[in-house]
C-alpha cells in the first residue's frame, strides 16, 4: 500500500545531467517492487506549484547508520524538478510511495534484455539484480541524445552479459539509437523478454522490432499525471486487454509498466474509435 511520508534527504549528488537523490525511507522500503514510482511535492507548503512530480524508484538500499533508503533520479528540466534538485541534505520532502505496479518478473530463468533511454535507465540496474536472483541472464542497451544524458552505464555494464551503448551525437559509445542493433542483439542474446523504460517513440520502436521477433516487451511509460494515485484520470493511454478490448487505462495504477504489444502506441494522444466509451461518429 502506498503511504504519504516526510523523507529526509540524505544525499543529493549531480550525475551528468541528473541528480541522484537519496531519501530516508524506513517504513516503505520493504514494500517497494522494482518499476514502481514515488511522487514528491515541490516548492514548499504555499507553493503555486500544486502538483507532485513523479520519479521511478532507482534503488532501495540499507546502511547500518541510516537504515533503509530510497534513491530517485531527478532530471531538472522544469521549475518543480529544479526545485527538488536544489534541496540540500538534511531537508525533508513530502513523498508518496510506492506507487504503480512495477515490472512483472519471470517465474523461470529466461534471457532478459534491458533497454533504457536517457534517465529511463533509472530503475533498470535494480531490475537486473532482481532478474539475476531468479537466475535470468541480463543484457543491456542504453542510449541518450548525448553522453551527459546517459545514466548508470557503469553499473549496467557490470550486470550485463552483452552490453551496448548509443548516443545520438556519438559522444559516448556508438553513434545512433538503441534500436539500431536491436534485431542483432535479440538473435545474439537469444532474448526472451525485453524490459524497457524511456520516451514513448522509443518504446514503440522497440516493441515493433521485438514483436516481429516474437519477443515480449514490458514497457514503463511516462505520462503526465496530476495525482499519481488513481483519482484524477489524466495519465491514461489506450491499452488492449487479453481479449483484445481497448480501454483508456491509468498509467499510475494499472501501469506504469504495460506489455508493449498491448499498448496502442499509434493512438496515444487520441481516442481509438473502437475504445470502450469512444465518442460516436455522429458527435
Amino acid at each position: 500500500m502506498p503511504e504519504q511520508h516526510l523523507a529526509t534527504i540524505l544525499a543529493n549528488k549531480r550525475e551528468g545531467a541528473y541528480h541522484r537523490l537519496v531519501l530516508s525511507a524506513p517504513s516503505i522500503a520493504k514494500d517497494v517492487k522494482v518499476g514502481q514510482f514515488a511522487t514528491i511535492s515541490v516548492g514548499g507548503q504555499n507553493s503555486g506549484m500544486i502538483l507532485r512530480r513523479a520519479f521511478s524508484i532507482h534503488n532501495i538500499t540499507t546502511d547500518s547508520a541510516q537504515g533503509q533508503m530510497m534513491e530517485l533520479i531527478v532530471s531538472p528540466h522544469g521549475p518543480g524538478t529544479k526545485w527538488i534538485a536544489e534541496q540540500s541534505p538534511g531537508k525533508t520532502l513530502d513523498v508518496v510511495s510506492p506507487l504503480g505496479k512495477g515490472f512483472p518478473l519471470p517465474k523461470s530463468p529466461v534471457n532478459c534484455l534491458l533497454i533504457g533511454g536517457g534517465y529511463g535507465s533509472a530503475p533498470l540496474v535494480f531490475l537486473a539484480k532482481e532478474l539475476k536472483k531468479r537466475n535470468c541472464s541480463v543484457d543491456f542497451i542504453l542510449g541518450a541524445s548525448t553522453s551527459e544524458k546517459l545514466f548508470d552505464t557503469m553499473n549496467a555494464k557490470r550486470e550485463s552479459r552483452f552490453y551496448e551503448v548509443y548516443t545520438q551525437d556519438g559522444s559516448h559509445g556508438r553513434r545512433g539509437m538503441v534500436t539500431d542493433s536491436l534485431a542483432d542483439m535479440i538473435q545474439k542474446a537469444n532474448t526472451n523478454v525485453i524490459y524497457t523504460c524511456g520516451p514513448m517513440p522509443m518504446l514503440q520502436a522497440i516493441t515493433e522490432i521485438a514483436t516481429f521477433h516474437g519477443v515480449i516487451t514490458q514497457c514503463a511509460v511516462e505520462e503526465s499525471m496530476a495525482c499519481g494515485i488513481g483519482v484524477c484520470m489524466t495519465c491514461v493511454l489506450p491499452v488492449r486487454d487479453e481479449s483484445g478490448v481497448t480501454r483508456m487505462v491509468r498509467s499510475c495504477l494499472e501501469g506504469p509498466v504495460f506489455r508493449g504489444d498491448y499498448v496502442r502506441f499509434d493512438e496515444v494522444g487520441s481516442i481509438p474509435e473502437d475504445c470502450i466509451g469512444a465518442p460516436r461518429q455522429s458527435q
Binding site: 500544486i50 507532485r52 505520462e223 495525482c227 484520470m233 495519465c235 494522444g269 475504445c275 465518442p279
Partner: protein
C-alpha cells in the same frame, strides 16, 4: 474542547462539512488507503453517465500558476458498472455518498436519476450541469437559467420529493444568482459551487494548445476568490438555501472562508491530487480555525461574513 463539526444540507445530516469534490476522488477507494474515508463528511463521486465513456484525448492536464487545467471529459465506466462496483463498495464502507450525474440531454439526467435515487447507498444526487469538458458549449446547461431549470425540473419530477438534489453550477456566467434562482425554483434542494472555469493554455514549445481537448477546466487555489464570491452572492440572495462550497480549498483557513461566506459544507478537490490526506487534514484544521474564532460549532459560523 471539541468543536461540533456536524452540519445539515436540507434534510441530509453530515458528521462533518468536509466532502470530496466530484472528479477529484474517483469513488473513494483509492483515498481510503491513505485515510479512513468514513471519518470525513462524505464522498461526492466522479460524475457518472449512462454509458461507458472514454473521455478526451491526452494530454489531459497542465499545471498553471496555483492551479491546473484539465480536459478529462467525464471518463467513466457507465452507470451499470458504477452501481455494481463503486456504489456497492461505498455502501459496504458505510460512507455518506453523494452521487454526481451527468448527461448530454435532460432525458439522460432523468434516466440516471431514476436508476440511482432509490439505491440505499445514495444520500443525495448532485446534478452536474456545468462540466466544461464537452464538445458543445450549448450543452453546458448551467450557462442559461432556462436549460438549467429544465434539467433540474425534469429530474425533480422523476424522483419525487424524497431525494435530495444539488445542482452544480459554473461561474462562467454573467449572473450566477439568476442560475441559482432558476434551479431553486425548479426543485434543487441546494447548489454546489463552483465547477471549474473554462480556460486554455498554449504550449510555449509548439505554440499549439497544450491540452488534447484544446480548452479545459481551471481548478486549484487560483480560482478560490471566484468561488468564495459565488458562495457569498448566492447566500446573500437566498440565506437559507444549502450550499456546498468548493474551489481551491487547500487548508482549514480556506475552508473557513467558504463557511463564513455561507456554505454549509465544503468539497476538497484539486488539493487531493497534491496531497492525498488533504480532506482529513483540512477537516482537522477547520476545527482549529473554528476554535480560534471562539465558535462552539460549525453551524454558528455559517454565513458570518454577511452583515
Amino acid at each position: 474542547m471539541t468543536i461540533d463539526l456536524s452540519t445539515t444540507l436540507g434534510t441530509l445530516e453530515l458528521s462533518s462539512p468536509v466532502l470530496t469534490a466530484s472528479g477529484c476522488a474517483a469513488s473513494g477507494k483509492e483515498l481510503d488507503s491513505f485515510f479512513d474515508i468514513t471519518e470525513i463528511g462524505g464522498i461526492v463521486t466522479k460524475s457518472i453517465m449512462q454509458e461507458p465513456r472514454s473521455g478526451r484525448a491526452t494530454p489531459r492536464m497542465v499545471e498553471t500558476p496555483s492551479g491546473m487545467l484539465n480536459s478529462i471529459g467525464l471518463q467513466g465506466p457507465g452507470v451499470d458498472e458504477f452501481i455494481e462496483h463503486d456504489l456497492a463498495w461505498l455502501q459496504s464502507r458505510g460512507v455518506q455518498t453523494i452521487v454526481s450525474i451527468a448527461g448530454n440531454t435532460a432525458e439522460e439526467f432523468v434516466r440516471l436519476a431514476r436508476r440511482l435515487h432509490t439505491h440505499p447507498a445514495v444520500a443525495a444526487l448532485e446534478i452536474n450541469i456545468s462540466c466544461p469538458n464537452v464538445s458543445n458549449r450549448g450543452l453546458v446547461f448551467a450557462c442559461q437559467p432556462q436549460s438549467a431549470s429544465e434539467v433540474v425540473g425534469q429530474v425533480r419530477r422523476a424522483v419525487g420529493n424524497g431525494t435530495m438534489l444539488f445542482a452544480k453550477l459554473t461561474p462562467d456566467v454573467t449572473d450566477i444568482v439568476e442560475i441559482a434562482r432558476s434551479v431553486r425554483v425548479s426543485g434543487a434542494d441546494g447548489v454546489s459551487l463552483i465547477n471549474t472555469l473554462l480556460g486554455m493554455s498554449i504550449s510555449s514549445a509548439t505554440l499549439k494548445p497544450t491540452l488534447g481537448g484544446i480548452t479545459g477546466g481551471l481548478s486549484g487555489p487560483a480560482i478560490r476568490p471566484v468561488a468564495v464570491r459565488c458562495v457569498y452572492q448566492i447566500h446573500q440572495a437566498f440565506p437559507d438555501y444549502p450550499i456546498i462550497g468548493m474551489g481551491g480549498i487547500r487548508s482549514g483557513e480556506d475552508a473557513m472562508e467558504f463557511i463564513a461566506a455561507g456554505a454549509s459544507a465544503v468539497s476538497i478537490g484539486t488539493a487531493t491530487f497534491g496531497d492525498p490526506l488533504a480532506p482529513i487534514r483540512i477537516q482537522h484544521e477547520l476545527g482549529q480555525e473554528l476554535e480560534r474564532h471562539n465558535f462552539d460549532s460549525l453551524r454558528e459560523a455559517i454565513g458570518v461574513a454577511h452583515g
